[in-house]
């Protein structure tokens, strides 16, 4: 369980985190979503005992982070934005070292390193220097390092930034697996897909504050329903397509700037079939037509768009 109450951290004039309140139940994944500079990393650093808040309270696994950082470190794991891997050591030596620093004892540290190497598909590279690892391997080794102490709470700061799709998928599977076995995970991300995929609850942060919070479904619902997205083969058909789709749906469709795509706000699944027929009858050639559920992109743009306007006023 993770609790944050009115956490504040300022750097000079900048309020990096401006009154953060969080409650993450045990065994769930919580996503902190926001652009660069939103205060995500600072929030994680405070919760993970790496920097002290100016005010407010943080409790991780029942332990007050500010008062007992050492105790918190026994039950948490952290994988930061950069892979905190020692290039000079092999993968095995990296994990073995962390095991010793967790005071597992030499034999147990070795066993734990072996387990994690197997779990993260690093056995073949185990005795090579980490210097030669690919980006995906480094990130896996880093996450393995965060798990050496069998943490009850895991902090992941942008765990898949810069990873290729396959490594990202692997990492997602591991995080899902950890959550399923009772680990509490707080992850920050700029990827809406990632938060959508992993997190049961999402907080959208901007300017050091939470500007929206809820389940991915709830956030999407707040932004509005889905839309029918039609991609045309030829720009010349745009006017016809807008007319056909407009009369079908009873709302005015929105053409995209590239003029070969039209969006129709709707939640009606039957509209898709009707639209295909009507467009075909009108001689409009369609490349792609699909009913899109709102994505977190939509949520985010809508929310930060409003926030930005408010900030400017």
């Amino acid at each position: 369980m993770i609790i944050a109450e009115k956490l504040v951290k300022t750097y000079g004039e900048v309020r990096a985190v401006d009154g953060l309140d969080l409650l993450v139940p045990q065994g769930t994944v919580f996503g902190l979503l926001g652009p660069n500079g939103a205060g995500k990393t600072t929030s994680v650093r405070m919760l993970a005992s790496l920097c002290a808040p100016d005010s407010g309270r943080a409790v991780v696994a029942g332990i007050d982070v500010v008062r007992k950082p050492r105790e918190v470190r026994k039950v948490m794991g952290l994988a930061g934005q950069y892979s905190a891997v020692d290039d000079n050591l092999t993968g095995r030596q990296n994990l073995d070292m962390i095991g010793r620093l967790h005071h597992l004892g030499a034999a147990a540290a070795r066993t734990r390193a072996e387990e994690l190497l197997r779990r993260f598909d690093l056995v073949d590279a185990a005795d090579r220097q980490a210097r030669g690892y690919s980006g995906g391997m480094r990130r896996r080794l880093d996450l393995a390092g965060a798990l050496v102490g069998r943490p009850r709470v895991l902090f992941l700061d942008e765990p898949t930034t810069g990873l290729d799709p396959r490594s990202r998928q692997q990492l997602w599977d591991v995080v899902q697996d950890l959550a399923d076995t009772g680990t509490t995970v707080l992850l920050t991300t700029q990827y809406l897909e990632e938060a959508d995929r992993l997190a049961a609850e999402i907080a959208v942060v901007d300017g050091g504050r939470i500007i929206a919070q809820g389940s991915p479904e709830r956030l999407k619902a707040d932004v509005g329903g889905g839309r029918l997205e039609v991609t045309l083969r030829e720009q010349a058909h745009l006017a016809v397509a807008i007319e056909v789709l407009g009369s079908l749906a009873g709302v005015r469709p929105r053409p995209h700037p590239e003029l070969t795509r039209v969006d129709v706000p709707t939640d009606d699944g039957e509209l898709l079939v009707a639209a295909v027929r009507a467009l075909d009858a009108a001689g409009v050639r369609v490349v792609d037509i699909a009913l899109r559920r709102p994505t977190l992109d939509d949520v985010f743009l809508a929310l930060t768009g409003r926030a930005a306007e408010r900030g400017a006023a």
């Binding site: 920097c51 794991g77 934005q81 950069y82 905190a84 020692d86 290039d87 030596q93 620093l101 102490g149």
Partner: protein, 267 residues
């Protein structure tokens, strides 16, 4: 947690960290190579180029020079420390350590001990080279051991200055230069290469009170190599005292500063 318990983990964690750094040093032999070759080069250049024109006490410049280059080697090792610490901060390795339930000071103490080992190797190689170019100790075995102990104590103390610079500067590319900046003026405004009485007048008081001069004099005295003390100044009369106080001050100031900085380390 009891004090004994904390101490035990502190020692164990430091040991783990020393292992890490020593493995690192073996994987980057160029560090060992250059930290050892650099002072050899200094000896060759200074003894070869300036040796003839320097009025060395005792008439043998190699004997005068070697204790100084020992001190310089210990001081310049700070460049390795500073950049290594800064690199750990930059790479996020320090964050990883700080997220572990380990003794936080072990990260820094491990670095200091590992760099001390590096300096020990450098000093051993340099001593061998010194014998080749005509330097030799003239004192008894206990004094010679004492001379090396003073050198290592200084090396250990000055490492903490490097640790602090590395934590403050944070850019690995700059940290080694920044570390050297702190010691280069001390090394050159001293009796390390030439006797103080041959320096320009305005430099002499600085050189006389420079703790590096006191250290060099102490090491020369212990090895039984000739030195020319500036008898009218306090450090000239009691170089051992000034040297030990300087070592103590370095530790008293930079160990706590470094530890405090480490606790607040931010990338």
């Amino acid at each position: 947690m009891s004090v004994a318990h904390a101490l035990r983990w502190g020692v164990s964690d430091t040991h783990t960290m020393v292992r890490r750094y020593v493995i690192g040093l073996t994987k980057t032999p160029e560090v060992l190579f250059f930290t050892t070759v650099q002072p050899v080069l200094f000896v060759l250049l200074f003894a070869g180029v300036f040796g003839g024109s320097i009025d060395a006490p005792g008439g043998n410049y190699a004997e005068y020079l070697m204790p100084g280059v020992f001190v310089q080697t210990a001081a310049f090792a700070i460049a390795v420390t500073g950049s290594a610490v800064a690199l750990d901060v930059r790479r996020g390795v320090v964050d990883r350590f700080r997220s572990l339930p380990m003794a936080p000071t072990a990260v820094l103490a491990g670095r200091a001990v590992a760099d001390l080992l590096l300096t020990t190797v450098s000093l051993a190689v340099l001593s061998g080279f010194g014998l080749l170019v005509g330097w030799q100790p003239h004192a008894g075995f206990p004094q010679v051991i004492a001379a090396y102990l003073v050198l290592l104590a200084f090396a250990f103390a000055v490492t903490w200055l490097g640790v602090y610079v590395g934590l403050v500067v944070r850019a690995p590319e700059v940290a080694s230069q920044a570390s050297l900046f702190t010691v280069i003026p001390l090394v050159f405004l001293s009796n390390l290469y030439v006797p103080i009485d041959t320096l320009p007048g305005w430099v002499r008081p600085l050189a006389a009170w420079n703790p590096v001069s006191a250290l060099v004099s102490t090491v020369r005295d212990l090895f039984g190599n000739s030195d020319r003390h500036i008898a009218e100044s306090f450090p000239g009369r009691y170089p051992e005292l000034v040297a030990l106080i300087s070592i103590g001050l370095l530790l008293a100031v930079f160990v706590p500063l470094s530890v405090a900085k480490f606790h607040r380390a931010d990338r």
